[in-house]
Every structure is written in C-alpha cells, then in structure tokens.
C-alpha cells in the first residue's frame, strides 16, 4: 500500500520538479554566460503557453503523429516512476529493472523517431536518423554500466542496488568511478545535451532532437517538452540512485526517513543541475560523427569497469 502511495507521490513530484530542474540549468547557464536569462520558473510558463496555443498539424500527418506525444510522455513518466529517487519501496520497482528502464526509454525514443519521419520532411528524417544513431551507441554503453553494477551487487533491480550500496561498504572502487563517468556520458547523449546535441539551438544543420520534433506545436509540443524534462530528472535520479544513494528511504523508519529522502533527492537534483550547467558552459558541441567516438569511449570505460571488477574479484 505504501508502495502505491510512494509511487503516486514520486509521479507527482517528478512531474512537478522536472521543469524546475531544466529551468535551473538554463538559468545558471545564462548566468555563467553573463546574461541575465529567464528565471528558473520560465519552463512552467512555456509549457502552459504551449498548452493554450492552437495546435498545427501538418497536412499529411497520420494518426501516429498525433498519438505519439501522449505515448512518449507516458513512457517517460513511467520511467521516472521506476527509479527510486527518494524511497526504494516503489510499487513499480519490482516490475522493471535497470534494463527494462533503458528499454522503456528506448520505446519512447522509437516512437518519437517515427513521428519525426511521419510528415515526410527532410529535417524530420535528419533528426530521427541522428537521434537513433546516437541512441544505438548509447545503449550498449548503458548496458556495460549495468553489467558492472550486476557484477558488484549481483542485481539489476534498482531498489536492491541502492539498498545494497547503502548497507554494504563497497568502498571507493576504480570500477565504480569508471562506470559513473560512462553513465554520465550516456546521460548527456540521451538527454541531447552539449557536447552531443544542443537543446538551445535552432540552427537547422546542428539540430538533432529539435529537428526531430520540428513539426510539433501546441499541446503536442508541450507534452514532448515535458517528457524531455522528465527524462533529464530521471537520469539525474538514476545517477544519484546508483552512485550516491545516501539519504534514500529504504523503508526502515517511514516518517522521518521519507522527509530525509525527499530533501536529499532535491539536493542531489540541484547539484546535478548545477554540474550539468557548468559542464555545458565549459564544453563546445562536437560534430555529429565525433559523437560515435565519444560514446565509443564511454562503452570502453564501461567494459574496463567490468574488467577491473573481475580483476579485483579474482584477487
């Protein structure tokens, strides 16, 4: 029962927090660039504005084009509800593990890429093609991270991993460090952040995600934007859950632990947002075909992590 409540709470909180996180990232970036920039709450206004606007649908768009935003939003939201962000006792925790999580996000991307192809424009195709290319490279890297975790914890279920890391002293391991870097690189790619993609650009040839959703407007666009924000939060919570589960409510003492969990989660999100903003400010976007090398690197790091773990276990 508590599981269900916690899940509902997380659904609500992630949805509520998602625009804020994106807003903070944008705001900090603006500040770091020396601009004043819109306030952290701007994304809420944007979403509402989009919702109220009239929706324009291309003439030859099919039913798929109109169904996709809802499905993408639902899938991403579900993913967000699976990752233990402030508590491990989630109802859905037992019905999808790390691999399933990746796959769920994958289905969202699959549908979105299809939508990009639906209208039959050059840019839509370009966006879908590149988005899928990046994803195809990011997923194996993600799996090697998973593999490292499975080696260490002998589990792929997120709550269990978190509880394990909290209860046992795994110490600082090279493997974990490598895995963390690898996962971060994946996260950057999956969320279309610099250096892989630039969420702010509207210069046609550099767009990836933006090009894919180019034809969307109004409420559809609002849903897709929201899904994108949810995805960012999900990845931040995922990194936190896997590498910094401190303060997570493992269901020992309900009341107080829950509050602690919430506080620590918000704290982590904030830190993550700031780190992301700093990183993006420091980096320049790379050419599309350098992305392969970037993600190939993260794949190698992941494998290295697994190998190091073997060695350390073999000793």
């Amino acid at each position: 029962m508590t599981g269900a409540l916690l899940t509902l709470l997380q659904l609500a909180l992630t949805l509520a927090a998602a625009p804020l996180v994106t807003g903070i990232v944008r705001w900090v970036k603006a500040r770091l660039n020396g601009r004043r920039g819109p306030g952290p709450l701007q994304p809420y206004r944007d979403l509402l504005k989009l919702l109220r606007k009239e929706t324009v649908v291309a003439e030859n768009a099919s039913w798929l084009f109109r169904a996709v935003p809802y499905l993408v939003f639902a899938l991403t939201w579900l993913a967000a509800a699976i990752v233990p962000s402030f508590a491990t006792g989630l109802a859905l925790g037992g019905s999808a593990d790390l691999i399933a999580l990746v796959a769920i996000l994958g289905s969202a991307r699959f549908l979105l890429a299809l939508a990009g192809m639906d209208v039959g424009t050059a840019f839509g195709g370009l966006g879908s093609s590149r988005e899928m290319m990046i994803a195809s490279l990011a997923e194996p890297a993600m799996l090697t991270v998973t593999f490292t975790m499975a080696l260490l914890v002998r589990s792929t279920s997120l709550p269990h991993i978190a509880e394990f890391l909290l209860s046992h002293d795994v110490g600082i391991r090279v493997s974990l460090g490598l895995a963390l870097i690898s996962l971060m690189m994946v996260a950057l790619a999956e969320n279309g952040r610099i250096p892989v993609d630039n969420p702010a650009t509207h210069l046609e040839l550099t767009m990836v995600h933006e090009a894919m959703v180019l034809e969307y407007s109004g409420r559809h666009l609002a849903l897709i934007e929201a899904a994108q924000m949810l995805k960012l939060v999900t990845y931040l919570s995922l990194i936190a859950c896997l590498f910094a589960p401190w303060g997570l409510d493992v269901g020992a003492v309900p009341g107080h632990a829950l509050a602690l969990g919430l506080e620590s989660w918000l704290g982590k999100l904030l830190v993550g947002a700031l780190a992301l903003a700093l990183f993006e400010t420091g980096m320049a976007k790379m050419r599309v075909f350098r992305v392969a090398e970037f993600l190939g690197g993260s794949l190698l790091l992941g494998l290295l992590a697994a190998v190091f773990l073997y060695v350390s276990q073999g000793l």
Partner: protein
C-alpha cells in the same frame, strides 16, 4: 496415439502436394491445397500442444519404411512438440495468408505442389528419431524450399539465389551426415536411441560440434554461412518467405538443440565460447547488413541472421554453463534462446507477411519507391508497427522478454570459472545490446520510409488495403506478439518443463515468477512484468490525455508542413532509406563493408543533377566463398584437359595404370 495423428497429418500434407502436382492448373485445386494445408497445420498444432500434457514421457512409433534393418523411427518428446507447435502455428498463418495471396502468383502451379510438402518435411524433421529419416526429412525440406524459390524462376536474380541456396543446403546436409557418422561410430546403428548411449571422446565430440555448426548453422544462417539466406528468402513468394525465414531457420535451431543437448553427451566449456562468439558476430553483422539494405524482404532476411545470432548466444551460454555445472544459468540461457525462437518466428513471419501484403498492394519491394502507406493501408500499417516494435525488442512486446532473459543470463556470466568465458560474456553482451539498438534504428528506417512520410512512387500512391483473409493472419500474429509480451508466463509453462527435460537433474530458472512478474533467479536480483508496464503506460497516457483535454485548448489546424520554412514540393526531398542509414553506414559500414561514398557535385550553373554513389563489398563473400568458387573453377579447367587428349594418350594412360598396378602387386609380393 498422438504420434499417429501427426503421422497422418504429415501424410495428408504430402498427398496435398501430390494433388497440387497433378491438378495444379485447376482453380479448385488452389483452395483445396491451401485449405487442406491450413487444416493439417491446425491438427498438427493441436497435437503438439496436447503432447505437452504427457510431460517427459516420449511417445515413439516405428514405421516399416527407410533402411530395411533400421526402419523409420518417430519420436514425440517435449522438444519435438515445442518446435512442431511453432512450425504449424506459423504454417497455419502462412497458409491462410497464402490462400488469397498466392492466387496472384505469376505461376501458382509451381507453388502448389511444394508448399504443403515443405510444411510436411519441416514437421517430419522434428519427429524423426533416426539419422536416416532425419536427413531425409531435412533434405526434403531443402528440396521443397529450393523448388519454391525457383517458382519465380523467370525473374533475373532467382537462378543465382536458388543455386547458392541448394549448394549451401547440400553442404549442410553433408556436414550433418558426417556428424551423424561420428555420433554413431563404428557400431553403425543410426537410431537416435543408440546414438544417445554411444559415448564419444572429447576430440570427436568437438568435431561433431563443428560439423553440426556447419550443418545446422548453414541452414539457420549463422555468419559466415548466411550468404544464401538474404538471396533465397526474398526470392520466394512472401508466404513462403515467411516460412523459410520464420520457421525453417528454427528447424535448424531444433537440429542444433537436439544434437548438442540431447544426442551428444556432456558438453565441453569451450563449446560455449565458440557458439556464443558465432552468435554475437551473427547478431551484429546481421543487423549491419540489414541497415545497408533497401529491398524490404532482403532486409527482413538479414534480420533473421541477427535474431539467429541472439538465439545462438543463449545456446552458447547454456552449453558453457552446463559444462561448468551452473545449472540455473544453463536453464535460464536455454529458456531465453528457446523463447526467442518462438518470438522471432512470430514477429518475423508477421513482418514477412506484411511485406507480402505491401508487395501485393504496390508490386514493390524496394523501400525507396514506397512511403505513406499508413494512409493507404491503415490496417496493415498497425499490424506491421507492432511487428516492428516487437523485433526492436521494445517493452511491453514479446521481443523484449526473450532479450531480457538473454541479458539476465549474460549478467550472470561472471559465474563462469574460465577467464576466456568471463571476458567473452560482457563483450557478447555489449554486441548484443548494440545489435538490439541498431535493430531499433533499422525498423525506424523501415517503418518511417515504407509507411510514413509521402509516397515515393505512383504504385505506392495508388496502393489499396489488402483483403480480409490476408489481414486475419497478420492480426493473429500481432495479437500473439502483444500477448506473449504482456503475459509470458503462459509460454514459460511450456518452456520450463522443456528446459528441465533437456537439462535433467539441475534446478530450472524462473521458479519464482508468477503469472504477472518474471523472476529469473530471485526478486532481489531482477524482475520484469510486461503486463504492469503495458497497463501503466495505458493509464499514464490516459491521465496525460485527460489532463491535456482539461488544461489545453482543443483547437487544431491542418496546415502545410513547416520544415523550417522550406517549401519542399517533391517527395524525393524526404529522407530516404539510404539517407536514414547514412550515419550508421559512415560509422560501421566503412569498417564492416569497406563502404565508399563518391559524391559528384556539379559546379554552380551546371544543370545536371548531383550524384551520390555508395559501393559496398560483402567481406564474407570476398574472403570465403569467392576463393572457393575460384578454386573449383581452376581445378575444373585443369582436369578438363583430359577430355581433349588423343587416343594414343588415352592408351598411354591405360598403359600407365596397368604398369602401376603391376608394380604395386610386384612390390606387395
């Protein structure tokens, strides 16, 4: 009892074939053959399902045919039953589809005799219980499918495809024959019972493994023996392609499992290394090949190579684990492989039948000439979308379940004591993940280019929805894809006993899973519930739409596409299949296929169109098959000289032979 029913059903199929041969040109024969094939397949399907009721108790039957002293042995055990079910489930679907589809074949009389024979042969393979009958059925299967491929004999590429196919098939049969020879040993008893009891030295067992990998692998399409598959599968009529790609390759997997897990005693750990490596390479190469294709059916055929690779990874893990006594892992990997066998059969047949529907509606197989079919063939589009999502291993569909199992098995690969396996497993896992992700890319390409966007040719623009009898099987298969994905426990009810049967003694994985949730080892380690995901997505999507309806304005306007303000009149400006695959081609193709792009960009003011030319080489063909062909040609040329000697020289040959033999005798005395 069941076995005799099966026997009669197979016999009926053969009889239908004979009927098709003699009365092929009459209209009524068509209905009789396809209707009969459908009925027989349903009977066989039912019998196979009932056979699971028997549990481990195998039913045997001996026929007075075949070798006089061996007789024909039939045996129905869980393994046979599982594959028999598979074959005839899809056989029924294909028959129903073909009933209408094949009417419009250029020469239906060339399909009628061999189509039922093909199903009969495949079914017979699964119940054969001696080497002779097995090889007879096996080769009959090749023969029937070869003739089915040749049914389109007047098309230019068919001849080459059929030739490559039949030669590869014969090579495989020969390899299997040698394998059985080793298995039976000098005792020379070729009944499977005798073979089971006959123990082999590790060296010979290894030789058998290699031979079986050549024999069954060439039929299944393991790299590098896959070359015939993308040629032959597309050449056949689509309902046959569906069977060849979806089912015949599974019969090869059956042979692999039957020999490696049943006939050929305890495995060695390096077997796992070999099989897994082959699987991983096949999975990755297969999907890369597929991405480079723009012929729809050939692309699907290459995906068969990929999926066979995934199955082989599972089998390899199972072999290694069994050798190392990791029974739980072994059973999980085996279940994963066999589950994927079913899933691939389902969605691959669905996709091939869909391709058939498209071909029927547009007469096109070239994706670059299709597009926008979601508007013209809405029903087909939905079914095909489900198939595409399933083969891309997206939850909550069936493809994901078996790949998830495979991943779970791989993640447990640390348990292997051998370092070679320890290191191979994560690499194989990464390759599998890459293959899965690329498969998603490939099917975004397929669906996006074929069904979405705008029509690229008049044929596509004028296409119309196909008939109901062709849609029914499509939707049946699509429904199964969803059901198996959401409630896989039903399939597990068949697979867990089967795994226990093949790996006697050890515990069987997934003991703790319920109808709702799959739990490979224990809940703490990993769990997945397709049903929950399905429901959750539905609910959340519902919530979202309610919220939007509440908050947002419902005003919607149809307008020309924005596309950054580019007025693009021509559908040719859309992203094509080639352009969609371009990034992948650039990243992997240059390595795997030595892909070269040459761009010919005219000077400003030059009116001629710019040209982009891509040329790719097939490494397997270049490095393996071309040399063999060259060698044979060389020897043939050299030996051919003997045809043109003078009589005197022939006499000299005789004389030399005589003197040589005389010397031999002189020496021997």
């Amino acid at each position: 009892m069941l076995l005799s029913v099966i026997g009669y059903a197979v016999l009926a199929l053969v009889a239908l074939g004979a009927l098709g041969a003699v009365a092929g040109r009459f209209k009524a024969t068509h209905d009789v053959v396809y209707g009969g094939a459908l009925a027989a397949s349903l009977v066989l399907l039912g019998a196979a399902l009932l056979a699971f009721g028997h549990g481990d108790a195998a039913e045997t039957l001996t026929l007075p045919i075949g070798l006089p002293w061996l007789r024909g042995h039939l045996r129905l055990d869980l393994l046979s039953a599982y594959f028999l079910m598979l074959i005839n489930l899809l056989g029924a679907a294909a028959s129903l589809f073909g009933w209408q589809y094949a009417r419009h074949e250029p020469e239906p009389a060339r399909v009628l005799p061999f189509y039922p024979l093909f199903i009969a042969a495949m079914s017979l393979v699964t119940i054969a219980d001696d080497a002779f009958l097995f090889l007879l059925a096996w080769e009959l299967m090749s023969l029937a499918s070869w003739l089915l491929v040749l049914s389109t004999h007047e098309e230019p590429d068919t001849s080459h495809a059929a030739y490559v196919y039949i030669v590869m098939a014969a090579t495989g049969t020969v390899a299997l024959l040698l394998a059985f020879g080793l298995l039976a040993g000098s005792a020379g008893d070729y009944s499977f019972d005798a073979i089971r009891t006959h123990q082999l030295s590790p060296l010979l067992a290894g030789a058998v493994l290699i031979l079986v990998l050549i024999g069954a692998g060439s039929k299944a399409g393991l790299v590098p023996l896959h070359v015939w598959l993308p040629l032959a599968h597309p050449a056949a009529p689509s309902h046959v392609s569906a069977l060849m790609s979806g089912v015949m390759t599974k019969v090869a997997i059956y042979a692999l499992v039957r020999i490696l897990f049943d006939l050929l005693g305890a495995p060695d750990w390096w077997w796992g290394v070999v099989v897994m490596a082959l699987g991983a390479v096949s999975a990755l190469m297969g999907v890369l090949y597929a991405l480079m294709q723009h012929d729809l059916k050939r692309l699907l055929a290459y995906h068969t190579v990929e999926n066979i690779g995934i199955i082989a990874i599972g089998l390899g893990l199972a072999l290694g684990a069994r050798a190392d006594g990791l029974d739980l892992l072994a059973s999980l990997a085996l279940i994963a492989a066999l589950f994927h066998v079913l899933n691939h059969a389902l969605f691959k047949s669905l996709l091939f039948l869909g391709a058939g529907a498209i071909q029927r509606a547009t007469g096109e197989r070239d994706m670059e000439r299709l597009g926008g079919l979601i508007h013209r063939m809405p029903a087909t589009a939905v079914a095909f979308l489900i198939g595409a999502a399933a083969i891309s291993a997206l939850p909550p569909l069936n493809g994901f379940v078996s790949e998830w199992f495979t991943f779970q098995a791989i993640l447990d690969g640390a348990a292997f004591p051998q370092w070679l396996l320890k290191f191979e497993v994560p690499v194989a896992g990464a390759m599998l993940a890459l293959a899965a992700a690329l498969a998603a890319v490939c099917f975004v390409k397929v669906y996006g280019v074929v069904f979405l966007g705008r029509a690229r040719s008049d044929a596509a623009a004028r296409a119309g929805e196909v008939g109901r009898t062709m849609l029914v099987p499509l939707y049946a298969l699509a429904a199964l894809c969803v059901l198996v994905g959401a409630l896989p426990s039903a399939v597990l009810a068949l697979l867990r006993p089967l795994a226990a049967y093949l790996l006697p003694g050890g515990p069987v994985a997934l003991a703790r899973s319920s109808w709702l949730t799959l739990v490979p080892f224990d809940a703490g380690r990993s769990a997945y519930s397709g049903f929950t995901v399905l429901v959750a997505v539905a609910v959340l999507a519902g919530l979202a739409s309610l919220a939007v309806r509440g908050l947002a304005s419902a005003r919607t306007r149809r307008a020309p596409a924005w596309d950054c303000g580019f007025p693009d009149a021509s559908p040719a400006l859309q992203y094509s299949a080639a352009s969609f695959a371009q990034p992948i081609r650039r990243i992997f193709g240059s390595v795997a296929f030595a892909a070269r792009e040459t761009v010919d960009m005219p000077e400003p003011g030059d009116a001629r169109p710019a040209r982009l030319e891509v040329e790719m080489r097939d490494p397997v063909w270049d490095w393996l098959f071309a040399p063999v062909a060259r060698a044979v040609a060389y020897v043939a040329d050299r030996i051919n000289i003997v045809q043109f000697l003078t009589i005197r020289r022939y006499l000299s040959l005789m004389f030399a032979a005589l003197v040589l033999l005389l010397l031999l005798v002189a020496v021997m005395q």
